[in-house]
Amino acid sequence: MSMEDLYQEIILDHYRKPHNRAPTLEGEDVHVHHSNPLCGDEMDLRVRVADGNLDAVVFDGEGCSISQASASAMTIAVEGRGLKDALELAEDFRLMMHGDEPQRADDLQDGIAFQGVARFPVRVKCALLGWMALRDAIETYESGASAHSVTYDD
């Protein structure tokens, strides 16, 4: 396993020039805050829903290259998708991080670049942070709430 397996060029691109990174979102429906005490990562994810679809998804926070790049790639992959569809895609990504072959490689778009992270067990949580925040944001929205906070206690 080399560092290049972990840090693919696509991942580094997302890290250096993140997409949909913003501290606020106009007309936000849900804001979730996720933190990982192990590494001190903090992730704020905001979504706006229109007609049952993810109209806008932005993230902000601090974390390692893997967590920030994965969140960036995630926002692109899920934007415009229906809530159920986005949840299923998040599950596909989660299973990929646990070693499964992704069923929706094309839909994951740049998210597929993170497949190699599954071989670095301590970094799996980093790659999952944005996707798990998305899942929580959708579930929070569906429960009728507008904010939720989660701390991973591994």
Partner: protein, 412 residues
């Protein structure tokens, strides 16, 4: 004796291994130290020759094992110059030692109108138990801030103590993040100036492995020790208490061997230290503690400190000169121990740790269980390289090479 690191390294089995064909460069002793063969042998001796429970057997091997368990208590007391081994309670670690004091002293005696002082530099082990107790019992929790020079702000401490309401002081001897050696004797004297009856606790987790520690000279009431950072095994530590103090304290954990008598109507507590050691203790680990004290004393704690002081100066100077590196902690080696926290421009600590692992270099990254300190430094996490007696200047080059590689990798 001259300090011969190459020879000392041969005592540590894990330091003989390689990672991907590279020498293991272990720079994480502030998290947990390596264990010398002599300590492993002492624990094996228990399992191979004296395997029986202690404090309760009437047969030979149990009696011998009990004697050796109690010898370890005496040995540890001598190692930190505690006046009596009766004041040495074996615990799981410093966390348990501090919780013992939180539950059996602070929670029973402090309430509204009282105050407890700790610092913004503490490991969570010496912060969360007090915070929790303050929540439950309504006393005031006061926190000594850290100066821009990474030292405790003693002027602010004086103000926090001035109203005489402070009944308990809890302070770390050496910061696990900054490496700062705190002036604990001075702080204890300051607290007594405003309340002669103040009770004091010092978290010695990062001090006992690295400095000659004399608890009698510090004149603290409680002192916490953990073995796994001082060449000893995991799973054992100690609370060292001033003579007499434990007599008036109720137990923390209850159950077997901490009683003198039990009936349905009445229970009589055992005498200290046994009152505070419920259940079968970590016996093999106690054998290991005794051997770790022997190992360190044979080298000499003055020699350990002299070696680390010179080495930390070399490391801090080199890191401060390295492009893009910021060191969090005192510059003067006389004021610090070997835990060196730093940041590298453009590289998240987690990425740096992963990159260094590729060089066989083990460092800690994250918040180091000191989130109040991280907040006062204005960071979420740092990288930390920490030194011990088996580290030397040859560990510096792989660290710097990895930092350099990480910087250019993420700047591409």
């Amino acid at each position: 004796m001259s300090f011969d690191v190459a020879t000392l390294r041969k005592d540590f089995p894990t330091l003989q291994r390689e990672v991907d064909g590279r020498r293991l460069v272990y720079l994480d002793s502030a998290a947990s130290s390596q264990t010398p063969q002599r300590v492993l042998d002492a624990m094996d001796e228990y399992y191979e020759h004296l395997r029986a429970n202690v404090e309760r057997g009437v047969y030979r091997i149990s009696e011998v094992a009990t004697g050796r368990y109690e010898d370890a208590r005496t040995r540890l007391a001598r190692f930190v110059n505690a006046p009596s081994s009766d004041g040495v309670v074996f615990t799981k670690n410093v966390t348990e030692a501090i919780n013992l004091v939180a539950y059996s002293w602070v929670r029973r005696r402090l309430g509204p109108g009282d105050a407890l002082v700790t610092t913004a530099m503490e490991h969570h082990a010496n912060f969360v138990p007090w915070w929790h107790a303050a929540q439950d019992h309504g006393f005031d929790l006061r926190v000594i801030p850290v100066t821009p020079d990474f030292e405790l702000d003693l002027a602010a401490a004086r103000e926090l103590l001035a109203d005489g309401q402070v009944r308990f002081l809890a302070v770390g001897h050496v910061s696990n993040v900054l490496g700062t050696i705190n002036p604990v004797a001075e702080l204890i004297a300051l607290a007594r100036e405003y309340n002669p009856d103040v009770v004091t606790l010092v978290d010695g987790a990062q001090a006992v492995p690295h400095l000659p520690v004399d608890v009698a000279a510090l004149d603290c009431d409680f002192y916490g020790i953990t073995a796994h950072k001082m060449c000893g095994p995991t799973g054992i530590g100690a609370l060292v208490a001033k003579p007499g103090l434990l007599e008036d304290m109720p137990p923390f954990l209850t159950g077997g061997s901490m009683i003198l008598d039990v009936s349905v109507d009445e229970v009589t507590w055992n005498h200290p230290p046994h009152r505070f050691e419920a259940g079968t203790p970590p016996i093999a680990e106690a054998f290991g503690v005794g051997a770790a004290c022997d190992y360190l004393d044979d080298i000499g704690m003055d020699a350990v400190r002299a070696h680390e002081r010179a080495l930390v100066g070399t490391f801090v100077d080199a890191l401060r000169e390295a492009p893009g590196v910021t060191v969090y902690g005192p510059v003067d080696p006389a004021r610090r121990s070997g835990a060196i926290s730093f940041a590298v421009d453009g590289v998240h600590p987690h990425d740096l740790g992963a990159m260094l692992d590729g060089y066989g270099v083990c460092i800690r990254v994250g918040h180091h269980c000191a989130k109040p300190l991280m907040r006062s430094l204005g960071v979420n996490s740092t990288a930390r390289a920490s030194l011990y007696l088996y580290n030397d200047t040859d560990d510096l080059a792989p660290l710097l090479a990895g930092i350099d590689e990480a910087r250019s990798f993420f700047a591409r």
